[in-house]
């Protein structure tokens, strides 16, 4: 196996609030190899964006990394100074955020933002950079890119803005891409195009990717492995086919069963009963125990770590042997 490009070790992120300390991420470990796409799914609020933010050094106070390490190429990046980290971000790590509006400056044209990013990180003059910017806009499927490059973000539709954000993250040719819901605002056709582009980068340039999404179709098509998050922890991690088709953690199973069917209409959609505990009220033992159909006595006493579960690793006592 190739040495990982990214390694996250026992990451813990806390928020200090007036209402006490909240643990948003608890003991999260993962690796991504060059050219590999690690998908990340899980309950809304489970800590997926937080994981991405921690990797790119963008946890903002009152949040902080309370424990653990983030390594890029074996070198720690979680303790870099702000200006050093800015260098890494952009050149080494490209970020696609869930909210396109936070990435795009409403006061500048799309072209200006792309050209600035390109000239900052690549040895190109402004004219070359502008040409490159138009190419990137075409690659992410913006029609009439040459005509629309001087538009402002608000003149684009939601999905078009999202594609601009993707172009911005890719145009400096980073080695790791942290993509948070990159395709949710896109229609299936553009989505297919963007995914093909991301996969090509992974294959041809060895770009590694953390791909956070709720879209299981995208996961199934793009990811090599998948991490499933629940209440700040990884509930299950393993090869994509096993996670989708033969999950070993009851939460993963519940999640997969909630995918709306395409081939028929149902009266009531399957959903996991109840909701994820709030960070301030995570129950003792397994955090999923109040909703778990297979809960037993050990689950309410002891918290399971990731255990070998055949093809995947699952944080569930059902997989404790001996």
């Amino acid at each position: 196996m190739t040495a990982p490009l990214l390694e996250v070790r026992n990451l813990r992120v806390e928020f200090h609030t007036r209402r006490g300390t909240l643990t948003a991420l608890n003991d999260v470990s993962l690796t991504i190899a060059p050219g590999e796409v690690l998908g990340m799914v899980g309950e809304s609020g489970a800590g997926k964006s937080m994981t991405g933010a921690a990797i790119i050094g963008l946890i903002e106070p009152p949040g902080r990394i309370a424990a653990g390490q983030v390594l890029l190429d074996g070198r720690r990046i979680d303790n870099l100074r702000y200006d050093q980290m800015r260098q890494v971000r952009g050149r080494q790590i490209g970020a696609i955020f869930q909210d396109p509006l936070t990435t795009l400056n409403p006061l500048y044209t799309v072209g200006r933002q792309l050209v600035e990013t390109i000239t900052t990180h690549l040895p190109l003059n402004p004219a070359q950079a502008r040409k490159r910017a138009i190419e990137w806009l075409e690659m992410v499927g913006i029609p009439a890119a040459a005509q629309r490059i001087d538009s402002y973000p608000h003149e684009f539709s939601g999905g078009m803005r999202q594609r601009v954000v993707i172009a911005l993250a890719l145009c400096a040719e980073p080695r790791l891409i942290v993509a948070d819901e990159p395709t949710t605002a896109l229609d299936v056709s553009i989505q297919a195009q963007v995914i093909a582009l991301l996969k090509r980068l992974a294959r041809e340039k060895g770009t590694a990717m953390l791909l956070v999404t709720h879209d299981m179709g995208v996961i199934a098509e793009t990811a090599d492995r998948v991490a499933v998050m629940y209440a700040g922890r990884i509930a299950e991690i393993g090869p994509v086919r096993d996670i989708v088709k033969a999950p070993n953690h009851p939460y993963t199973a519940g999640l997969m069963a909630s995918i709306p069917p395409l081939d028929r209409r149902v009266d009531k959609l399957a959903a996991i009963e109840g909701s994820m505990p709030r960070l301030s009220a995570i129950p003792p033992g397994c955090a999923y125990n109040p909703r778990c159909p297979r809960v037993f006595d050990r689950c309410v006493r002891e918290r399971p770590d990731l255990l070998d579960a055949g093809t995947t690793r699952a944080a569930c006592w059902l997989h404790a042997h001996g």
Partner: protein, 324 residues
């Protein structure tokens, strides 16, 4: 409940006058929505689907009066939209869930005040405690907790914020709700809960929805009718089951082929071929012709009008000629 007639909305996307002069460019108009008609009966759901940038959100904004139409009319409960919007009692009856949940929540307000604002503005519930109780109930309905009302929007994840904007939209007890990608930031389990809630409200209170989503599986679950948009126009409109079982317009069929494959059977999904055309200079005749496998000379010259075909309304020469 809602009737849109030949709705159109154009945007001027010319460059500043001076630059235009130097480059000798004409003014440029973008036809975001170009002659869209539909009706939504009370208690029903019409969904709009179609490629990014085809004009869905613009239709949504026209329908709730956030943009004035460049042409055409909207009638809400048999009265012109402008009349309905002028009357607070009527305004309260329609609400919109925006595509971008971040932009629509005031960052300086606590969540409970965000949700309570319409309740106070329309005087729906009296007394501080009663309002708080109602806010708590709404938060619970969208899978959050009453205590979450104390927090500010930035303290929530993307999907949690989306749920806050849903709770806010529901807080004024609307009868007509425009939902622009309401569940796109939610995991499938929470999404299922929200969709079940919306269906339940429709059954018990007779809510009417205009629903916009890229997720065709979701569209199938919630819609009575579906309109497929392409470059500012509705190219096919049909009862939901008809559309999914017998799509007729070549674009609708291409859209269905492009759905991601969850079964990992190895089926390669077929993206709609060809370039997405520019809405600034749309192709002549049928706007889909550069990408359409059935296109012929007539398609390049003549714009097809919506014609009944079975239970569907389809704007396509090939379908009309029986070669579709």
């Amino acid at each position: 409940m809602l009737e849109a007639n030949d709705l159109a909305r154009y945007f001027d996307v010319s460059r500043p006058a001076l630059q235009r002069l130097i480059a000798r460019e004409p003014r440029r108009t973008l036809r975001a929505v170009d002659g869209v008609s539909f009706t939504i009966p009370k208690g029903q759901t019409l969904s709009l689907v179609g490629e990014s940038g085809c004009g869905k959100s613009t239709v949504a904004r026209l329908v709730v009066g956030l943009y004035p139409p460049s042409d055409g009319t909207v009638a809400f409960d048999n009265q012109p939209l402008s009349v309905a919007r002028a009357d607070p009692a009527q305004r309260q009856r329609m609400q919109m869930i925006f595509q971008d949940p971040y932009a629509s929540l005031n960052p300086r307000w606590r969540v409970r005040d965000i949700i309570a604002e319409p309740i106070r503005a329309f005087k729906l519930v009296d007394g501080k405690d009663a309002i708080l109780a109602r806010v708590g109930q709404l938060l619970t309905q969208v899978g959050l907790a009453p205590a979450d009302g104390e927090k500010f929007p930035h303290e929530f994840s993307g999907g949690q914020r989306q749920r806050i904007s849903i709770a806010r939209a529901l807080s004024s007890n609307p009868e007509f709700l425009v939902c622009d990608e309401p569940t796109s930031a939610l995991d499938v389990s929470v999404q299922a809960q929200i969709l079940n809630l919306m269906k339940e409200l429709q059954r018990s209170l007779g809510l009417t929805y205009l629903f916009i989503s890229h997720n065709l599986a979701v569209v199938r679950q919630v819609s009575d009718r579906v309109g497929v948009m392409y470059l500012g126009r509705i190219v096919e409109q049909a009862p939901a089951e008809t559309l999914f079982t017998t799509p007729r317009h070549p674009y609708t069929r291409a859209l269905m082929e492009a759905i991601p494959d969850l079964d990992m059977t190895g089926r390669t999904r077929i993206p709609v071929g060809g370039e997405v055309p520019s809405p600034i200079s749309p192709p002549s005749g049928c706007a889909f012709h550069p990408r359409c496998p059935l296109a012929n000379d007539r398609c390049k010259a003549e714009r097809p009008l919506a014609q009944p075909a079975g239970e569907s309304l389809v704007a396509c020469h090939a379908v009309e000629e029986g070669r579709g």
